[in-house]
Amino acid sequence: MPRERVDAAAVPSLALVRAAVAGDAAATARLLRGVAPRVVRVARAVLGAAHPDVDDVVQQSLIRLIGALPGFRGDCDITAYASTIAVRTALLARRRAHVARARHDPEGEPDQLIAEAVAPDDHLEAQNRMRLLRELLAELPEEQAEALALRMVLGLSLEEIARAAGAPQNTIRSRLRLAKEGLRKRIEQNPSLAATLAEVVS
């Protein structure tokens, strides 16, 4: 299965990163413009496109990126680095929204339902899968949610997740196994989803 990769031509160069770290305001602006489209897509992927916090998460992710730039060693491309920050920021926002929604009445803002309402019919199964994962991410313990999101949303390898989390690969394996146990329960509670998965083998 081919992994989704960032277009290399669109990745800001290390020289641009260094200029931004050195305090070149124009370079910082160019750098942010270079990574922002990817950050927007990651925020939407984790939160759902209709989530009201998408814009705030994007801005916060970009601000965090600027703060983290001095420590960027260049062992991955800056867009992938920004994507990881965006996943973490979005997970925090999703968790906060989940807690807030639990206190909300059932007649509240129907944004998530609206997003489903306008999903093209042939994408409904994909929308259902992504929605299920987003809901799970809001409920899992923080470290499991991060490992699962980096794995399934960004498609990172065990090695890449371990490097991003600063943890041994076996620890990441353990987090993923526990997270997938939660996923298994979710799938079992959703017979129609399980039926559509029967067709997903190759």
């Binding site: 992994r3 916090d53 601000i63 498609g155 196994r177």
Partner: protein
Amino acid sequence: VSVVELHPEDLFDKDARGELTDAERARFEAHLERCDVCRFERAVRRDFAAELAGEDDAACAALVTGALAGAGRATGGAEADSPHPAEDAARTRPPREGTVAPLLGSGTRARSRRTGLLALAALLAGGLAAAAGGAPAMRFVASTWRALGADEAPAPAPSVAPRSEHRLRSLARAPLAPASAPSAAAEASPVVPETGPAVRAPESRSALDRSLPAGSSRPKEPSPAERFARANAARRSGDHGLALAEYRELVRRYPETREAAAAHAIVGRLLLDRGDTRDAEAEFGRYLESDRRELREQALAQRALAFEREGNGPAEKQAWRALLEAYPDTAYGNHARQRLGAPTLVPAKP
């Protein structure tokens, strides 16, 4: 721990890199055959890969501007000497509320306010230009709009773009009607200079378009999805008048789309919230007449709520029963059963 729970993470990685041997591929496929979780993972990775490969968003420039404005306060360069970027990124705390854009706050509402201030300037300039018939002033209007969101032209659509107050209010008052039967109120609205490209209707573009230099790119007609997103942004920003106008325009232009169907349900909700129960009930009814199903439960429930607030007992009772019949486990079930059991709805037998 069963065999199924030992998910083959290494095989997933090798598969992603295209490095599976034949034997490993056979083992991987055999695991997928019996493991719902890994089949889900394979499918959802593809789903997200497609999602992440989408087109760039025109709103990025405004978000970058906001981030640059807030970055100085939020970070202060404290992490400059850290050797562990990943850990630093994990530790970096989100900025306090209001630090994203120091002057105007953060997020959609802040962009709306920024947009509003600049749009006011554009509107004033547009009025002067219309009065004087001067192209230079109208070019200022166009450049002001381009300055709203990006360095590059053409200007991206602001999430909430203002439009002529007169036209907006007349649209907000008009009933939702498809393009084949344009509302009288909309037809009767005088054409006034629009304040920006993002929400201009085709029939009122001419004044601004003529003011643009030859060869200037004209913004294309927004798609139903773009109009829907714009209406949702207006609704979330609290500008329900603008949101109603945008939803109505969407329904008028693209009456057969799924976005238009959803617009009926959302407009119903907005009208219900402001106490316009009769029109709300009609909008929910229009959604229920469509072939869409995704908001059906909400539309049935809120139509019943509209009847309830209207004091229309028989219709309310019928509506709650229709909801319970279609969705026995609905989140509105307790309220529905309570209402159906209320003495005012089910008179006690003598």
